[in-house]
């Protein structure tokens, strides 16, 4: 029945020293946190390490959590930052998480997308695969907005982007994603 307990209650119990309450929070958010870390670091083992580290940091800093944002937003910010730090440690010369050099095909308005014609299950598989082929920055913003249904304001809090930048990045990420899905669909047909 742990799902019935609100995040706020669990946070208060954790702040009062109840470790089991934090364990419930970890269970509740482990898949979301792991998915976000996986989108950034692109490797299951690394994502596992990053997610565990992020939860430990969250536990450490939970006494400072004042509830000014949603717990999920606060947690994802920790996961996102920990993932970025992990990537920077792994590849110190990394400049950007974005794939600005990858060309985006111009869309042909009015022509139905090839992806629309796909079956739902095929589309899910293609989407999942395409997200994995996106850059870390694109994959995380797509995941936060469409999968976790966070608002643009919350995404700005997590990623520390400005509203304009976040919106532009989301738009470009979506276009790149569409190109990858369509290419994979075309490749399957050939």
């Amino acid at each position: 029945m742990s799902e019935a307990i609100s995040d706020e209650t669990l946070i208060q119990q954790t702040q009062a020293g109840n470790q089991q309450a934090f364990a419930t929070l970890v269970t509740r958010y482990e898949r979301y946190a792991f998915t976000l870390a996986f989108r950034v670091v692109k490797n299951r083992e690394d994502a596992h390490e990053v997610t565990q580290d992020a939860f430990l940091r969250a536990f450490r800093y939970l006494p400072d959590f004042r509830g000014e944002s949603k717990f999920s937003t606060w947690l994802y910010k920790i996961v996102y930052t920990t993932s970025l730090n992990f990537l920077r440690k792994k590849s110190p010369d990394i400049q950007s998480l974005d794939d600005e050099n990858r060309p985006i095909q111009l869309e042909n308005d009015g022509v139905p997308d090839a992806s629309y014609a796909m079956e739902q299950t095929d589309r899910n598989a293609a989407l999942q695969n395409a997200i994995n082929h996106l850059s870390s920055g694109d994959a995380s913003i797509i995941t936060l907005f469409y999968l976790y249904e966070h608002t643009l304001e919350e995404i700005c809090q997590i990623t520390e982007l400005t509203m304009t930048n976040a919106k532009t990045k989301l738009c470009r990420a979506r276009q790149r994603l569409k190109v990858i899905v369509e290419n994979s669909f075309t490749a399957e047909l050939v």
């Binding site: 970890v26 898949r31 994502a47 565990q52 430990l56 997308d113 589309r123 989407l127 999942q128 643009l152």
Partner: protein, 178 residues
């Protein structure tokens, strides 16, 4: 329907994502009412958005929560142990060494004539005054004395051992990955 208004795919996505302001939203609504092709395109976009939200989440290894809690307990144990027992022990040793050094510095001053009461001469009968010897302190003897040398040697040895102990503690922490 406005003649200059062109409903692009991007505007449709912004409409679906809720990024448009009220005025633009009404304009798109009006356009869609009179253009079924665009409405179909919007339906496709909404279906695409629906696909995003139904994507399965990645799953961490089994027992992930337990691993996090175990790591947390290990972290807390590593933090608490030296603070509760060893640190207090070390504090006493350091305070002892500091007190010994303080005593070495202060002791000569306590033994020196300036430490004597200033009105002591008034209590001595005048006929004995020339015979009174002013107390002096043998600084050279004190500094060169075997007991002080031994004491300093012992203190330095003790501090050396404490430094070695500290080094080994740090090395053990690194080896255990904390």
């Amino acid at each position: 329907m406005e003649k200059n208004f062109k409903l692009t795919n991007e505007i449709l996505w912004d409409y679906a994502d809720g990024f448009l302001n009220e005025e633009d939203k009404l304009r798109v609504d009006a356009y869609l009412r009179q253009n079924s092709a665009k409405q179909t395109q919007l339906d496709g976009i909404l279906s695409e958005k629906c696909s995003f939200s139904t994507l399965p989440l990645e799953k961490p290894n089994a027992g992930f929560t337990q691993q996090v809690m175990t790591a947390w307990t290990a972290e807390q144990t590593a933090k608490k142990a030296p603070v509760n027992v060893k640190a207090i022990e070390r504090d006493w040793v350091l305070w002892g060494i500091a007190a010994a050094f303080g005593l070495i510095i202060v002791l000569p001053f306590l033994l020196s004539p300036s430490a004597a009461p200033s009105d002591i001469t008034l209590q001595i009968p005048e006929q004995y005054m020339p015979q009174v010897q002013v107390p002096t302190f043998d600084w050279a003897g004190f500094m060169n004395g075997a007991s002080l040398r031994n004491f300093l040697l012992l203190t330095l040895t003790f501090m050396g051992l404490k430094l070695l102990d500290k080094y080994l503690q740090v090395r053990n922490l690194h080896l255990s990955g904390h």
